[in-house]
């Protein structure tokens, strides 16, 4: 039966290294120190390497929803960004069907523009045609529920609460059928009512033959949406399997 399943994302021994340019720690901030470094050709002290993902391999199949769990700084978001093709892999490779879309809570749209125009802009940026956008705008705004307390969609996004903005962003990204949708903590925002709706949407997206990755610290939302779970710790996979089993191990680890 394994051959019947169609892989959508293959991560083959992937390593991700961040190179961080640091604004002056002690002794590197003066012009003289910078000059000396350039003259002597020394490696800048301000450049540091962080090995965030240290060789991760797994295969994700069509129709799966996979939860990524792990303590803070374990590399979950980094892995998502690498799958989305936004971070280069140092070693190994990541293969994906189509173009994975990353949906994060800090995905910035234009704050000075009304929500409605942001919806149009976001849809166009996802590659929809103007006609498609036109037919979708109302649906997206209704789904986000930002108009529940008056006509907010015509107000600039900077006037929105953080929950409202996150809801709108999720609604925009979820409006399109993605082959692979990567969600970073997006379901954690929003009230219980919206969470329920968005979980339903994630299930719909899966039914439309996509694969969904979900990074969340809410065990409940992972339990509700994902049947498979990957547990990352310090850039390595510590567990990969059915959600219940992995979560049990993870809980035991966290309580220690």
């Amino acid at each position: 039966m394994a051959d019947q399943r169609e892989p959508t994302v293959i991560v083959d021994d992937a390593h991700v290294v961040y190179r961080v340019h640091q604004a002056g720690s002690a002794g590197t901030g003066s012009p003289l120190a910078s000059f000396k470094r350039i003259v002597t050709g020394a490696k800048p002290a301000t450049l540091r390497e962080v090995h965030a993902i240290k060789g991760v391999s797994f295969v994700a199949y069509k129709g799966e929803a996979i939860g990524l769990i792990g303590t803070n700084g374990s590399g979950k978001s980094t892995l998502l960004r690498a799958i989305a093709g936004l971070l280069p892999v140092e070693k190994g490779a990541i293969y994906a069907a189509g173009q994975p879309s990353l949906l994060g809570v800090n995905a910035a749209l234009m704050n000075d523009l009304p929500g409605e125009r942001n919806v149009v802009l976001g849809c166009l940026a996802m590659g929809m045609s103007p006609a498609q956008v036109k037919s979708q705008v109302k649906e997206i705004i209704d789904f986000s529920g930002i108009n529940e307390r008056g006509d907010f969609s015509s107000l600039p996004m900077r006037t929105y609460s953080s929950g409202m903005a996150a809801r709108l962003r999720f609604s925009i990204a979820a409006a399109k059928k993605h082959d692979v949708l990567l969600i970073d903590e997006a379901l954690a925002t929003g009230d219980a009512k919206f969470r329920k709706r968005s979980e339903q949407r994630v299930r719909d997206l899966r039914a439309e033959a996509g694969t969904v990755f979900l990074v969340s610290h809410s065990e409940q939302s992972i339990r509700d949406t994902c049947e498979r779970c990957i547990w990352l710790e310090s850039g390595l996979i510590r567990g990969d399997g059915p959600t219940e089993e992995v979560l049990k191990e993870y809980e035991a680890y966290v309580k220690k």
Partner: protein, 298 residues
Amino acid sequence: MSQTAVADSDTGIPLRELARRHGLSAAGKLPSLPEYSRQLWSYRHFIASYANAKVTSSLGKTRLGMIWQVLTPLINATVYYVIFGLVLSTARGVDNFVAYLCTGVFIFQFTQSVVQAGIQAISGNLGLIRALHFPRASLPLAITMVEVRNMIASLGVLMVIVLAFGEPITVEWLLVVPIFLLQSIFNAGLAMAAARLGSKVADFKQLVPFIMRIWLYGSAVLYPVSKFAEKLDGWQLAVVEANPLLVFIDLMRHALMEDVHLAASPLVLWLEAIGWTLVAGLGGYVYFWRGEKGYGRG
């Protein structure tokens, strides 16, 4: 549970082979240039509405709103008129110095604002880039479109100024359109090159004001072109007179004004303008495309 297994535990075939068999493509692979151009074309509506959104959001908080598009070049021209026309009254052997000066200032400003905005096209939009997938060239192109729109307003103001200072309307004014088109393409190329440079080396942004100032003095904006021929000769003069902005400014002066001294014959200037447009337009585009997969990292 093994962490280094490179084979699918279910089927036992290597992952690379599995990916190939199912036609999966490696993340972060650069599309070919024709493919990229095709993608970019399908995002034309995004580029247009993004440019619109940029104008609205930058002027949205001001009281006068869109009036600023006309007001900015007017104030700009007034400042130069007051300083050079009234205070210094330096005609320096040019008939109709105000028209001469304003043409130079406006044409130069067009390229200057595109370069300045282009530097930030990628680095200022990291949020958008990290969230959504679209051909990144959309951003510098949208910025160029914003400035093209501003320039259309500026050109209107410029024509009024030139008329007010006694230049007649002639058939040659029609040449404004092709000059404007060439310069827009030239600017788009510069915007894309600047966007990639600005995204790779943040230091570059600090240098831009100086580069633009040197370029300003080298483009005979504030003084007559003939000054170069008086002071320089040989290859130095050739270098200065091949300056693309000097070429565009000279052509525009030639189109709008009677009896203006040019750096070279109009035909030579036209050929130079077309050459520069091709070099900058194509060069900037290819250079930007080569870096496509690197934007948004960090």
